[in-house]
């Protein structure tokens, strides 16, 4: 049950992130999680939003290079050792993690971790087998 993440190419120049987030907020797109990897010249902004298809077309219209990427999300109890355990499951299953990022929900004390892996289906099957909660798009939006 992979979920869609937006990947946006962003040049390192002042105001670009503000422009992206403004464009999305004007159309009431809610950002649930984000991560940015950058070098000296450019970065890739990764966003989990409530309506990825609409967000993609908004940004495309504004001239951004943007695509949707499949990622998986799992819910963790916010306690030491949980992430380590999830990562060992992936390691034992032979699934490599390309990148990941996490966010914590204050209300119910859970954490959500977004993984980009080489094989989403295999990763999900193994994590589910070990009792990890696989989050759907709706789950992520509710957090």
């Amino acid at each position: 049950m992979a979920i869609k993440q937006l990947s946006i190419f962003v040049e390192n120049k002042p105001g670009r992130l503000a422009e992206i987030t403004n464009a999305l907020s004007q159309k009431n797109i809610d950002i649930r999680a984000l991560s940015i990897a950058d070098t000296t010249d450019f970065g890739i902004l990764r966003l989990i939003v409530d309506n990825p298809a609409q967000a993609e077309s908004i940004l495309k219209e504004d001239g951004f290079t943007v695509s949707q990427t499949d990622v998986i999300a799992i819910g963790l109890v916010d306690r030491p050792g949980q992430l380590a355990k999830a990562l060992s499951v992936l390691q034992n299953a032979g699934v490599g993690v390309e990148y990941m990022y996490a966010f914590v929900s204050r209300e119910d004390g859970t954490a959500a971790v977004i993984f980009r892996v080489e094989n989403s289906a295999l990763a999900e099957a193994n994590l589910a087998k070990e009792g990890f909660e696989i989050l759907s798009k709706e789950d992520v939006c509710k957090l």
Binding site: S7, I8, F9, V10, E11, A37, D41, F42, I44, G63, F64, T65, V66, S67, T69, E98, Y99, R116
Partner: protein, 432 residues
């Protein structure tokens, strides 16, 4: 089709005889009417009546752009003002422009050689020709305009800019022949696609592109987006404007209007003539111009000459597509780099856009070359390493072509300026 078979298919011996007659006359004419030539001939004791063969031209000191600048605006004119019916000027980006004038006969000759060139490219009186060059002092638009009218085509003088309207008219008027800079033609094609036009919406047949160099890679891109047959032509305002030479449908070199222009290919440093087929600087003598005749004008453009008759039936000597302008040539880390080489590497790469910029900077005591390209392939965003692979790939290709390393910078789509006239893609930040 050949517009003027007498001139365009004349055998070499007759052509050279005609050129010699005209050379003798123009040399005397320059000596009598242009102070610069009079003084220059006298200062080296050159007798304007002693020209016996075409190769005697080597005794004439070359004319340079500096000469025109020093005589701004009308100092090189050979006729009184009342005989001048038109003024044009170069697009000179810095300082004063280079000013050129035309007598009625000059305009007549210009229209004639432009009409020849349009026919060589495949145009007929049936064509609907849209001129998307900027009208004004720039010679491109009016040169093609008069030539196409002479031919009898239906001329649509839209000028460049307001591209959406240009496209609308292109469709509504059933335009078959497009005149533009290569950069602008490509932009028109891309915008057409974006606006939802299909190639079938247009009746385009032929493109006549000029005023800036056009690599074969660029030409293929334009043909692909606009669905036409693209030809290249050459000229410069100092000489007349476009019309000096242009491609026929075989595109194996640009046919020179030899009855009006005598072209030499010289070594830029020694000014010695290069053997036929070797690349060198294009040096042009105008054989018939009245207002501003030029003897051995150094164009700074690099090309090769081929005097073999062409498959199209024309016997006129042909020059290669301009390989570069020696003024455009960058010397980076001691290596000669032509922007056209960079363009030929970048355009075939599908993951990036057609616009690019070249920066030369100084890092410490060493030169650095940087190329900016627009990332358009969103599928590469899945993995960071895909972007790194792309820049590495471009870098490798540049190194293979140029022989030096260049930094490749990916930027967002449409963040590089879109040029509607001559593109200015090189920024040299050294000495600043």
């Amino acid at each position: 089709m050949i517009y003027n078979p007498d001139m365009e298919t004349m055998n070499r011996a007759d052509m050279e005889k005609l050129q010699l007659e005209r050379l003798k006359r123009i040399v005397r004419y320059c000596y009598d009417n242009v102070k610069l030539y009079h003084d220059r001939f006298d200062s080296i004791g050159l007798d304007p009546d002693k020209f016996k063969t075409l190769s005697d031209i080597q005794y004439i000191p070359p004319t340079t752009k500096e000469d025109l600048k020093n005589n701004y605006p009308f100092g090189m004119f050979a006729v009184p003002k009342k005989e001048i019916v038109r003024i044009h000027a170069s697009s000179g980006t810095t300082g004063k422009p280079t000013v050129v004038g035309y007598t009625r006969n000059d305009l007549n000759m210009w229209s004639e050689i432009m009409a020849r060139l349009c026919v060589a490219a495949g145009a007929t009186e049936e064509d609907v020709a849209q001129i998307a060059f900027g009208y004004g002092l720039f010679t491109g638009a009016l040169g093609l305009h008069y030539g196409l009218e002479r031919l009898g085509a239906m001329v649509v003088p839209t000028s460049s800019g307001n591209t959406e309207k240009n496209l609308m008219l292109m469709k509504d008027f059933g335009v078959t022949l497009l005149i533009a800079t290569p950069t602008y033609a490509l932009y028109m094609g891309e915008l057409a696609k974006e606006l939802g036009y299909k190639k079938e919406d247009f009746k385009l047949r032929i493109g006549m592109f000029g005023s800036e160099g056009c690599t074969v890679e660029m030409r293929s891109k334009i043909e692909e987006v606009l669905g036409l047959f693209a030809t290249d032509n050459y000229g410069m305002s100092e000489l007349i404007g476009p019309g000096v030479s242009g491609e026929c449908i075989y595109r194996e070199g640009l046919h020179i209007a030899e009855d009006h222009f005598l072209i030499e290919i010289l070594d830029s440093n020694t000014l010695e003539e290069k053997p036929e087929g070797e690349a060198g600087e294009v040096v042009v003598t105008t054989l018939t111009k009245e207002c501003i005749p030029l003897l051995r004008y150094r164009t700074r453009d690099i090309s090769r000459m081929n005097k073999q008759p062409c498959k199209c039936g024309r016997t006129s000597a042909r020059m290669d597509k301009i390989m570069g302008r020696s003024d455009d040539m960058l010397i980076v880390k001691g290596v000669n780099v032509f922007p056209s080489q960079i363009e030929s590497v970048l355009l075939p790469i599908e993951q990036i856009g057609n616009n690019y910029m070249i920066y030369v900077t100084k890092e410490g005591y060493s030169d650095a070359l940087e190329v900016k390209v627009e990332l358009i392939d969103a599928s590469l965003l899945t993995k960071y390493s895909e972007l790194e692979n792309l820049t590495r790939h471009i870098r490798g290709k540049l190194r293979a072509t140029l022989g030096i390393d260049a930094k490749v910078n990916l930027v967002e789509p449409k963040s590089i300026e879109q040029f509607t006239g001559k593109a200015k893609r090189v920024v040299d930040l050294r000495n600043k």
